[in-house]
Structure formats: structure tokens, C-alpha cells
């Protein structure tokens, strides 16, 4: 997206088309390439059902990755998101099972609110430890990753936590499986989240500050930006995104376990980087991130639909494809 740069007369726009756009377009080119490969591998691949399955499935990672785009743009990193999903989902289901509120829809609304609050608090905790505690985000969130995962294991006693009331399950199910005008709800949620995120990142003061903090903290400080506040806020946004992902995750299987969300943090970060945001911080590319999440999910999908790859080698081929996708991107970006 180039929203941030199109402030200008014609000459400017032309130039930015060349330089900036090719870089932003690169992930989409890689996506297109994958779609072509997929279509060659299996005719079912390109069917609406399959593509909408893939897009729907990618919702969790995509939404989490949108949050990660903020954290990474601000020059930080959050490794705890995967276990945060498990933790927040556990609390949500436990609350739904607690029967604190009799009316099912009211209960559901309360559970949703609680989830969003818990998610933000988890994010805030990460933010506080990294900024006030001055611990490298990698280590700080590796620590909280252990903490959230441990708490989940403890809450579930190692097993699964399942929504008990069938009525509630039925009420909640459409949030993942339903569709509006033929478009699955999760896809709509991805779109909504991304639009809001793009607006915040490119069109608000806060978004500008995120970029500044991520590209040079000293400059940000000398410009009167509350660096720690901006970073903390990015972690909170990440927490909120995790909570939204949980809101979609719980209705899918109606349950969660200690293994929920394992390695999702790496997938989210990969989506962000494949989407064109640099891990060093600075300019974030929300739309690229979404594209990155699709790419990751598509790669797995193509593997499974193809008939000629040993199941043992899937991991190896997946790795190769990611590297090749990045190479394609780079060479496109260098063309500019």
C-alpha cells in the first residue's frame, strides 16, 4: 500500500509508482505465481471452495500477523502470540462454561468483551516488560510465551477445554462457519481488521509515530514522541488482534488445548516479512502481511493437493518455496 506516499502532484506519483510500488507489489506477484503453480498441480485447486477454504483458514495467522506488523514496524518482536492464543481461548471457554450469565447471547457478548480485554492485557504485559523492564523483546516475549503456555496447560490440566453448552456452540458456530452474501465471515473479518489497521498505520498520528520509532528511536525521542508509549501500544494492538483471532478460533472446534497455536508466532512473523515489512522496523506493510499469510497457507495447501510429494518431504519443500518466494520478491524489488 502506498497510501502514505501519495500526497502529491503528478510527477511525484509517477516516480513512486516505479520505486515504491514494485516493492509493495512483489508479495502479490509471488502470490500470483503460487496460484498458477497450484492450478497446474491440481485442477481442484482453483475452485472457489478450495480457495475460500484456504483464505478462511488463513484468518488466524493473518489477523495475528496484522498485529505483528505493528510490533515489528515499531522495531520490536512478539514471540508469545501463539501461546497467547491458547491462553486467551482457554479463559474465554472457561468463562462461557462458568454459566455466570444465564442468557446465552448475553453470555456470548460478555465472553467476547472479556476476550478482547484479556488479549489487550496480555499484550500490555508484553509491552511493559519490554519497555519499562528494558528487556530485549525477543527474550521478554519468549518468557511470556512460556508463561502463557504454562498457564494454559495448567488450566486445561494438559487436556482440552471444550465449550460445554451445545446451545452456545450452535449460537457461536456461524462466526467461523457462516457467510454473508456468500463470503465466509472469517474473510470479512480479515478484511475489516486489515482496513482498520491500514488506516491506523497510514492515516493517523499514531501510525506515523510507529514508523518513526521503528526506524530510529533517538530521532523519535528528539521529536517529542513518547517512544515507550508507542511501543507499548503496538503490543496492545497485537494483543487485541490475538483476541480477535481467538474469537474466530473458538467457534471452529469449540475447544482449545495446550497445543493450540504452537509455532503460530513463527508463522505470523514469516507472513509479515514475506509481506515486505523489514524485521529491523520502520515502514510496515499491512496489505503485504495479509498477502504473506495467504502465501503461507497456500503453500501447505498445494503440497497436500499435489500427488507426487512424499509426506516426509513436505517440510523441506515448504521451506524451499518460502525461500524461492523471497528470491522472486527480491529480484522484483531490485528491478525498480
Amino acid at each position: 500500500m502506498t497510501v502514505g506516499t501519495e500526497f502529491s502532484p503528478q510527477a511525484r506519483r509517477q516516480r513512486s509508482w516505479r520505486e515504491i510500488d514494485l516493492r509493495a507489489v512483489a508479495p502479490f506477484a509471488a502470490l500470483a505465481l503460487l496460484l498458477i503453480i497450484g492450478a497446474l498441480v491440481n485442477p481442484n485447486f482453483i475452485s472457489i471452495t478450495n480457495l475460500s477454504n484456504v483464505a478462511t483458514r488463513s484468518a488466524f495467522i493473518a489477523i495475528i500477523a496484522v498485529g505483528a506488523t505493528f510490533v515489528i514496524s515499531a522495531g520490536d518482536l512478539d514471540l508469545s502470540v501463539g501461546s497467547m492464543v491458547a491462553f486467551v481461548a482457554s479463559l474465554m471457554i472457561l468463562f462461557m462454561n462458568s454459566g455466570a450469565i444465564a442468557d446465552p447471547s448475553l453470555m456470548l457478548a460478555a465472553a467476547v468483551a472479556l476476550t478482547l480485554i484479556v488479549g489487550s492485557l496480555c499484550g500490555l504485559a508484553n509491552g511493559l516488560i519490554t519497555t519499562i523492564g528494558r528487556i530485549e523483546p525477543f527474550i521478554a516475549t519468549l518468557g511470556t510465551m512460556g508463561i502463557y503456555r504454562g498457564l494454559t496447560t495448567w488450566l486445561s490440566q494438559g487436556g482440552a477445554i471444550t465449550v460445554k453448552s451445545a446451545e452456545q456452540q450452535a449460537l457461536y458456530r456461524p462466526v467461523y462457519f457462516g457467510s454473508v452474501l456468500g463470503v465466509p465471515v472469517p474473510i470479512l473479518v480479515i478484511l475489516a481488521v486489515t482496513l482498520v489497521a491500514a488506516f491506523i498505520l497510514y492515516r493517523t498520528r499514531y501510525g506515523r509515530h510507529v514508523t518513526a520509532v521503528g526506524s530510529n528511536r533517538e530521532v523519535a525521542r528528539y521529536s517529542g514522541i513518547g517512544v515507550d508509549r508507542v511501543r507499548m501500544m503496538a503490543f496492545v494492538i497485537q494483543g487485541l488482534c490475538v483476541a480477535i483471532a481467538v474469537l474466530l478460533y473458538v467457534p471452529r472446534l469449540g475447544s482449545t488445548s495446550a497445543t493450540t497455536g504452537i509455532l503460530w508466532e513463527l508463522q505470523a512473523i514469516t507472513a509479515v516479512v514475506v509481506g515486505g515489512t523489514a524485521l529491523k522496523g520502520g515502514a510496515g506493510r499491512v496489505w503485504g502481511t495479509i498477502c504473506g499469510a495467504f502465501i503461507l497457507e497456500l503453500v501447505g495447501n498445494i503440497m497436500l493437493l499435489s500427488n507426487f510429494i512424499s509426506e516426509y518431504l513436505i517440510g523441506a519443500i515448504q521451506g524451499t518455496i518460502i525461500i524461492v518466494a523471497m528470491l522472486v520478491q527480491r529480484s522484483l524489488a531490485r528491478r525498480s
Partner: protein, 514 residues
């Protein structure tokens, strides 16, 4: 000027019809330039004229788009990335080229470490570093981390690095921009010593007096075109300035405008103490231009950052229009209308990876928020306004700040601060790397601000600038305000005496001499 033997006048290094384009933007147009053995050759021109680019091409850091480079008369392709040092061609970059995690001696020998049987010979590298630093008369410790040095100290390290090479040609891109007169004199001493041994120098500077004093020949560039090369002795400052700007310059400094004694005191600092600065007290009146002078490391920057709330104070009070500002409360001070312009434009001033708009409005973004979202059109207007007001010259509107010429970066930084429309402005080194034409504009700009009733503190290592602009001057020495000069006392001799510790403020005990 010096006794250069006749036979040595052959060019060592020369550029022949060199052109350079970045993408579609051409910045050098068929320039001819040559350096002779044992001469100091000044390269002058407005900001963005292409001086740094030419110097980089001659030292291999950029490759020309067309044209030839001749070394000892033979065409060569300059090896890239500093490898030209092997040919005896060394460049002191306009922007620092030092890694934060290394020490001074490690930086000096980076890429050409001394080893014995494969093991680093740290002892001998340190010894040699000390030797060179002593030659330069600086007490920077050879084991100090680069990240702990001030801007001026880093510049001295860069100079040390260059003269420690066995160079035939040394390019110096604005080496004195951050140096005080004292350090500059030492540097010139070294240049003269090496020149006598046959080393050639190319000296890029905006300081006309230094050029007149040191150099043998002058080349002037304008808008990427060669304008003139002539012996310094046949030119005077005015002539050079005219060649650069292409028009006649009126007086550099505007008329001083002294505020009334009963003008309101807008900023008052009382017994401010930080790690290094002790007991600094001063007042600033409405419409006043107050200068801060002193030697490198005398604590001016630290004091001003503490006043602005960018550094914690250990003791003391800062009041703006009577209202007390808490320690480290940068935003509180900003709300009261105080703005601070850093002199470290690369490290603290500009986001080098972003364009002009983002940088310009970074601190004043509120002005461009409409109904909660950013109005990029109004930002673009601000950019256009700032470019006109500060004469920011770029050939490509979307260029990243890091690729703008040094002087234009400085103007952008100044513009960024002025976007705040502050009532009190602290400017640290306002004209660092700025050409004479623009300098004059900036001086008049400062004077106009003062006339409007704003108050300005100018921290500068350029004595003439302080004297030309300020009605009152504080001289700092070793973390204290050694003297507050007014009226007749604002002249070079008196300031120097205070800065060097030969005169002291009445209430201060005699400082022990080291």
C-alpha cells in the same frame, strides 16, 4: 603560502569530463577537476552543488556515469568501497563513518589491523592511535567506545583515521563543520605539515575564512557544473561567494536588534546541574538572541538538552514564562513553546529512510490531523512551503532524507523545528554544513524571528556567527558558564579568554589547571 617545488605541480589525481546521475537525476555535468602534488585544493559550492558526489567519485565510493579519472596521468577505475586507500586516496566522509561498538583505536585500524602471527597486536595499535591523537592535540581516550563520543570528537577520530593512512591525496568533506576554532587550528597545522611532505588535500568547506587561510587553489561548482578554478591568492571571500551563488551577496549578518531591558524574561534557568554541567544559570528575554560559545566538550549541548528536557537534571530549575518545567519533561517544555534543534542530524534529527514530508511534520503532526486522520495534502503543502522558505533544493521530490545533500538535510531539520512555530528556540549549530548564501538567509531568518518577539539561543562553534548574531553571549568552560558577555565584550578576544579559562566569572574560584 608554502614552498612547493615547481616540478611537483603535476596533477596526482584528476577528473576529466565527469558526469554523474542517480537514476534519472543528473547531479554532475561534465566536470573537470585536478589535484596537484603537495597542494590544498578547496572545493566550494552551494548545498547540493555536487561537491560530496565529486569527492566520492574521485575516491571510489561512487562510480561516474561518464568521464574518466586519471591517477598520475593514467586513466583508472577507482576501486570501490574504500579500496582506493591502497592507491593512497583517502576520504573523510561528510557523514561519519564509524561503528558504535568499536573503540577509537579499533576504528582507526578497521580493515587494516596489525597482526602478529595472525593475532591482533592490540598494544601496538593502541600506541599508534595514541600517537596520532596526541598529534591532533585531543585527549580522546584510545579505548573509548565510539558511541560515547560527542559529534566533534567523532570528527577528530575521522581526521585521525585519515591522516594515519599513508595517503597521497586526502579528501576532507567539511571536516571543520563541527569543530571549534581551536581544533580547526590544530587540524590546519597537521594539514600544513603533511602538505610540506608532498601530500595533497581536497578541502570541502563552507567557511570562507578557512578556505582563504589554508588553501592554494579554489574550484567552484554550481548546480553540478564546473564554474571556475583559480589560485586562492587572486580571489577574496566575496568573489568566491559570488561565484558560488551566481549573484552578489549583501552583508552576511543582519542588523542586531537589542531587546529592551524591561522585556519579559521568557526562559530562566537556575543552578542547573547534570552529570557534567554544574550550576548553570541564565535568563532569556523576549526577542533576544543569546549565544552560547565554548570549546568542544564544554557542555553546551548537554546543558541545552537538559533545559529542553531531553536529559535528566540532577538539580536546578527551568522556568518558562514563570512556569516551572519538570526534569526530563520534553513534551511539557514543548507545550510551553520551547523547541530544540539537535546538531546530530543523522543520529537524532532525521529519519534517513523516510522522505521529506514524514520528516518535516514528524514533530508537528497534530497540525495535519483532520477529524482523526492525517491529511496528506496539507502535509504536501507544508513541504512546499518549507522548501520555499528554507530554499531546500532537491532534484527529486521523493528522495529519502539520507540521500539529500548534507546542507539540505540541515535545512530540512531547521524547517522541521520551525513547523512547531515555537516561542523559544534553541538551535545547536544552526549552520553546520550550510553554504554562504543559505547561511545569510538563515541569519536573517533568525533575526526576523527575534523581531517578531521570539527568543533564540544559538549554540555555535563558529565564533563569527555568535558575534554576528547575538546581543549577549554565554561562554562555557568545563561544564560551567564561565562568563556572560554583553555589548563591547562580545568579541573574539574576550570570548576566547573565557573559553580557555584565562578570564573567569567573578564568583568562581580559580580553576585548577591540569
Amino acid at each position: 603560502m608554502s614552498g612547493v617545488p615547481e616540478g611537483a605541480k603535476a596533477p596526482v589525481l584528476a577528473a576529466e569530463r565527469v558526469s554523474k546521475s542517480f537514476g534519472e537525476v543528473q547531479v554532475l555535468f561534465s566536470v573537470d577537476f585536478d589535484v596537484r602534488r603537495g597542494e590544498v585544493h578547496a572545493l566550494m559550492g552551494e548545498n547540493g552543488a555536487g561537491k560530496s558526489t565529486l569527492v566520492k567519485i574521485l575516491s571510489g565510493f561512487e562510480q561516474p556515469t561518464s568521464g574518466r579519472i586519471l591517477l598520475d596521468g593514467d586513466p583508472v577505475t577507482m576501486p570501490a568501497n574504500g579500496a582506493a586507500e591502497a592507491l593512497g586516496v583517502v576520504l573523510i566522509h561528510q557523514e561519519f563513518n564509524l561503528a558504535d561498538h568499536l573503540t577509537v583505536s579499533e576504528s582507526l585500524f578497521l580493515g587494516r589491523e596489525i597482526t602478529r602471527f595472525g593475532v591482533l597486536d592490540k598494544r601496538s595499535m593502541k600506541r599508534q592511535t595514541r600517537l596520532i591523537l596526541d598529534q591532533l592535540g585531543t585527549s580522546i581516550h584510545e579505548d573509548a567506545l565510539i558511541s560515547s563520543l560527542t559529534v566533534a570528537e567523532k570528527q577528530m577520530v575521522e581526521i585521525a583515521k585519515a591522516i594515519s593512512r599513508d595517503a597521497r591525496v586526502i579528501f576532507m568533506d567539511e571536516p571543520t563543520a563541527v569543530l571549534s576554532r581551536q581544533e580547526t587550528d590544530i587540524l590546519f597545522g597537521q594539514v600544513r605539515r603533511l602538505r610540506a611532505q608532498g601530500t595533497s588535500f581536497v578541502f570541502v568547506s563552507h567557511k570562507l575564512d578557512e578556505v582563504m587561510e589554508l588553501t592554494d587553489r579554489v574550484t567552484v561548482l554550481r548546480d553540478g557544473q564546473w564554474v571556475k578554478t583559480a589560485p586562492t591568492s587572486v580571489l577574496d571571500g566575496e568573489a568566491i561567494a559570488q561565484l558560488m551563488v551566481g549573484r552578489e551577496l549583501s552583508t552576511l549578518y543582519p542588523a542586531k536588534h537589542e531587546p529592551n531591558v524591561d522585556e519579559e524574561v521568557v526562559l530562566s534557568v537556575e543552578r542547573l546541574t547534570t552529570g557534567y554541567v554544574r550550576d548553570a544559570s541564565f535568563d532569556l528575554r523576549r526577542g533576544e538572541v543569546l549565544g552560547f560559545s565554548g570549546l568542544i566538550g564544554s557542555g553546551r549541548t548537554e546543558l541545552m538538552e537538559a533545559v529542553a528536557g531531553l536529559r535528566p537534571r540532577l538539580a536546578g530549575d527551568v522556568r518558562i514564562r514563570g512556569r516551572s518545567i519538570a526534569s526530563s519533561d520534553f513534551r511539557g517544555a514543548a507545550r510551553e513553546g520551547l523547541a530544540y534543534m539537535t546538531k546530530d542530524r543523522k543520529g537524532c534529527g532525521l529519519l534517513l529512510g523516510e522522505g521529506m514530508a514524514v520528516n518535516l511534520t514528524l514533530q508537528s503532526i497534530e497540525r495535519h490531523v483532520r477529524n482523526g486522520y492525517l491529511d496528506t495534502r496539507s502535509e504536501a503543502q507544508a513541504v512546499d512551503r518549507a522548501r520555499r522558505r528554507f530554499d531546500i533544493r532537491v532534484r527529486d521530490e521523493n528522495v529519502r532524507a539520507g540521500r539529500m545533500s548534507g546542507g539540505n538535510q540541515q535545512k530540512l531539520l531547521l524547517a522541521k523545528i520551525m513547523e512547531l512555530e515555537p516561542g523559544i528556540i534553541i538551535i545547536d549549530e544552526p549552520t553546520r554544513g550550510i553554504d554562504v548564501g543559505t547561511k545569510q538567509q538563515i541569519y536573517h531568518f533568525i533575526a526576523a524571528l527575534a523581531r517578531e518577539g521570539r527568543s533564540i539561543i544559538v549554540v555555535s562553534s563558529e565564533m563569527t556567527e555568535i558575534i554576528g548574531l547575538c546581543t549577549r553571549v554565554a561562554v562555557m568552560r568545563e561544564g560551567r558558564i564561565a562568563g556572560m558577555l554583553e555589548g563591547e565584550d562580545v568579541n573574539e578576544q574576550v570570548i576566547m579568554r573565557y573559553a580557555a579559562g584565562l578570564s573567569k566569572a567573578a564568583d568562581e574560584p580559580l580553576a585548577a589547571r591540569a
